[in-house]
C-alpha cells in the first residue's frame, strides 16, 4: 500500500464489504471509495496477465470498479463483493481478448527486460525464457490463459479457481492440460 495516497478515504474502515455495499445503495456514495481501496489491487496481476499489458489491466480494473458500482443493486451477496467484482473484471477481460484476439502486446516486464543492459548470461537466458512464456501465454485461448494465470501466476488450487469461475475442476484440468501442450510447442526453443 502506498502511504498517503488515499486522502479522504478511511483505510481503517472496519465495516464489512456487505455493510459498505448496503450503505452505498442507501445513498452514501462516498463509502464506495473504501471498496475501491480494498479491492483495486487484488486482481491487478490477473488482469495484466490476461490482457498482456499493464495499461490495459489498469483500464480493465477501473472499468470493472465503475461497472460494479452501476450494478451494485444486482450484487446478491454483498459480503462476497470481491468475488462478484472478479466476475465483472473477468467478463471485461474476456470481452477484450475476443475483440483484440489478433493483437498482441509486449508486457511491461518484457519491455523492461529489453531495456535492462547488464545481466549475467544466465539471468539473460532466464529473462528471455520469461518473455517467451509471457508471449506464449498470450497465444492461448482466453479460457486456457485464464486457467494458466490463476493456477500458475496466482498459484490458486483448482478447487478455488472452480469457485471463482464457475467451471468444474475436471474442465479446468482439461483446459490446463491442453494449455501445457500448447505451451510446450510454443516454447520448444526456450526450454
Amino acid at each position: 500500500m502506498i502511504p498517503g495516497r488515499k486522502a479522504g478515504v478511511d483505510s481503517k474502515d472496519a465495516a464489512t464489504d456487505g455493510q459498505i455495499v448496503r450503505a452505498v445503495l442507501a445513498g452514501d456514495v462516498e463509502r464506495y471509495a473504501v471498496l475501491v481501496e480494498r479491492h483495486r489491487d487484488r486482481y491487478a496481476r490477473y488482469a495484466a496477465r490476461m490482457l498482456g499489458s499493464h495499461d490495459a489491466a489498469e483500464d480493465a480494473v477501473q472499468d470493472a470498479l465503475v461497472r460494479a458500482f452501476d450494478r451494485l443493486a444486482d450484487c446478491r451477496e454483498p459480503e462476497k463483493f470481491a468475488g462478484w467484482l472478479f466476475l465483472i473484471l473477468r467478463n471485461r477481460c474476456f470481452a477484450e481478448r475476443r475483440r483484440d484476439q489478433r493483437e498482441s502486446r509486449l508486457s511491461d516486464g518484457a519491455a523492461d527486460a529489453i531495456a535492462a543492459p547488464e545481466r549475467s548470461d544466465r539471468a539473460v537466458e532466464q529473462r528471455e525464457r520469461i518473455n517467451a512464456l509471457a508471449w506464449a501465454v498470450e497465444q492461448l485461448t482466453p479460457e486456457q490463459r485464464e486457467a494458466f494465470v490463476l493456477k500458475h501466476v496466482e498459484e490458486l488450487p483448482y478447487e478455488e479457481i472452480a469457485l471463482m469461475t464457475g467451471a468444474t475442476v475436471g474442465s479446468l484440468k482439461m483446459r490446463m492440460h491442453r494449455a501445457y501442450d500448447r505451451l510446450r510447442d510454443l516454447m520448444k526453443e526456450h526450454v
Binding site: V9, D70, I130, H152
Partner: protein
C-alpha cells in the same frame, strides 16, 4: 508435429507429483516442464495511485444520473400511513403449480393526493424439507436474511408478504441459507454472471412476474 506432455508430467506441473515420482524415462521431460513453469512471472502489478480518484469521479457522475436518482427515490424507505384493502390471495393457484410464485395481495391505500408507490406482494415457495427459506432481491439489496418466509401449514409451502415500491424488481429464493432458486413459475433473466433471477413488475394496478 506438436509433442504433448505425458499425463504424469502434466500432473507434475499441476503440483500433484514430484520429479522424483516420475519413472526414469520421464525425468528429462519432467525437467523440461519444470523449466517452463520456472519462467512464470509472478511480479506484482501496481496500479496507478490515481486510479481511485478516477473511479470515484466517474462513480459520482453516475450516482447523479437521473435514472439512479429515480431508483433511489423508489427504493428509499419512507413512512406511509396505510389503510389496507386486502384482496384475496390466489394461493390455490400457486400450490397447483407446485412451485414458487409471487402474487399481489393488496395495495395500501395512500392518503388522497399522494402517489400510491408501495404495493404488497406475496411470495410463495413450495419447498418440502426446507428448514429455512428467505427471499432476496433488488428491493432488499440481496440481503438473504432480510425477508424470511414462514411455513404455511405442513405441506412444505412457505410464504411471506413484502411491501415493494412500484417498479421492476429482481429476486430469488434462498433455501437453507445456501441454495439460490429462481422462481420456476416466472421467467428468469440472466444476471450477467451465469445465475438466474426472477423478475416481478409492481405497478399501481398490481404485480406480475415478467
Amino acid at each position: 508435429m506438436t509433442k504433448t506432455y505425458h499425463q504424469l508430467v502434466k500432473n507434475l506441473l499441476d503440483g500433484e507429483l514430484a520429479l522424483a515420482d516420475l519413472p526414469p524415462e520421464l525425468r528429462a521431460e519432467g525437467e523440461e516442464a519444470l523449466r517452463l513453469a520456472g519462467a512464470v512471472d509472478r511480479t506484482p502489478v501496481a496500479l496507478s495511485p490515481a486510479l481511485d480518484a478516477r473511479v470515484m469521479a466517474t462513480v459520482r457522475r453516475h450516482a447523479e444520473a437521473p435514472a439512479r436518482r429515480a431508483w433511489r427515490w423508489l427504493a428509499a424507505p419512507r413512512q406511509i400511513e396505510l389503510r389496507l384493502r386486502v384482496r384475496p390471495a390466489v394461493l390455490a393457484g400457486a400450490l397447483a403449480a407446485a412451485a414458487a410464485l409471487v402474487l399481489l395481495v393488496s395495495r395500501p391505500q395512500a392518503p388522497i393526493g399522494a402517489p400510491p408507490d408501495v404495493m404488497f406482494v406475496r411470495f410463495v415457495l413450495h419447498a418440502p424439507g426446507a428448514k429455512r427459506v428467505t427471499v432476496a432481491g433488488t428491493f432488499n439489496q440481496w440481503d438473504q436474511n432480510a425477508a424470511p418466509l414462514v411455513p404455511a401449514g405442513t405441506g412444505g409451502v412457505w410464504t411471506t408478504t413484502l411491501a415493494l415500491p412500484v417498479g421492476q424488481h429482481q429476486y430469488a429464493f434462498i433455501v437453507d441459507g445456501r441454495r439460490w432458486i429462481a422462481d420456476p413459475a416466472a421467467p428468469a433473466v440472466n444476471d450477467g454472471f451465469g445465475r438466474r433471477n426472477s423478475v416481478v413488475a409492481v405497478t399501481t394496478q398490481g404485480a406480475r412476474t415478467l
